[in-house]
Symmetry: C2
Subunit: 162 residues, 2 copies
DNA sequence: CGGTATCCCCTAAGATACTG
DNA sequence: CAGTATCTTAGGGGATACCG
């Protein structure tokens, strides 16, 4: 085993629900966090979405995702398998063949995830615009602080270390 | 600046959509990844869900989340603000007061996220069961490797490595 | 109060190499 | 082909101290 099964989840002790602000945020977060972190990690989404179309072999997945390393694909698949989202089917043929497919539960997750993906696709332009606006606003505020950067006069008084 | 605005997103170059497997996985992933990574990071979800109920001040958020550090709350809020999901309102009063509230876009994101949270809550038992089953199966396979298979007794040779 | 700047640790992800 | 084992590194995230 390379890494532990659990990592952080330290603040999960349901500190006090008296506060009217807290609802599922703290409580459900204990379980939601780890599951969300798992399915929303760098690769799981990709794998799930690919497998939703049809079952795939290890190498097919690797080539389809292409940025992924063997290591991460392997780990991701094992995680998904452990969570019951993906089924691993081994054919004991001479060149080994392993197929991966979504379980029914995995398929339901895909639907939910897809909604999130759609949201992202629908709003990515708005987000990009918001980012641009924000960056510009910040840059403008920097101008005020430094004085007019007529020639981008950056007085390099390195604040370095004391 | 402590950290760059972009980090990875290296494999985004839309390698080749000829493959029938790829659809939004690679293309949309370029945008989806960064946005998903943002909203699924350790704290953003909490903040969004809290703000969905009503606008809150910095300290209110800090106390509501309670496990969060100033640093991370500040960073999280700035990220969300930059993405246009959260609005920051500064009151120039003598003790400074800053309110945060969801933008309309942030509210729509919350709805989508909520669906995912609901999925998680609905399936957490199934996932826990799947994990237990998986772990048990793996343990059984370990037996085969280390001791004698199922027929004979369980040679309790601790399989653990030092 | 509402932040930012610094330091530091720890782990998750990448690269590489080896095996059944 | 389908993985594991090992090494290394970037950066996420906490603690602390200080500024407007």
């Amino acid at each position: 085993m390379e890494d532990g099964t659990f990592q952080s989840l330290g603040y999960c002790a349901n500190t006090g629900v008296d506060d009217d602000v807290i609802q599922w945020d703290q409580r459900a977060d204990c379980e939601v966090r780890q599951i969300l972190d798992r399915i929303a990690d760098k690769w799981s989404l990709l794998v799930i979405s690919l497998l939703d179309k049809r079952s795939l072999r290890f190498t097919e997945l690797r080539r389809a995702i292409d940025g992924i390393s063997q290591r991460m694909l392997s780990r991701t698949l094992r995680h998904l398998e452990r969570d019951g989202l993906v089924k691993r089917i081994v054919y004991p043929t001479v060149p080994p063949r392993v197929d991966y497919e979504l379980t029914p539960m995995g398929a339901t997750l895909h639907s939910t995830i897809h909604a999130l993906v759609l949201w992202t696709e629908e709003h990515q332009n708005a987000i990009a615009a918001a980012r641009a606006a924000y960056d510009e606003r910040i840059a403008a505020e920097q101008e005020e602080v430094f004085g007019r950067p007529a020639t981008a006069g950056y007085s390099g008084a390195s604040p370095g270390r004391p």
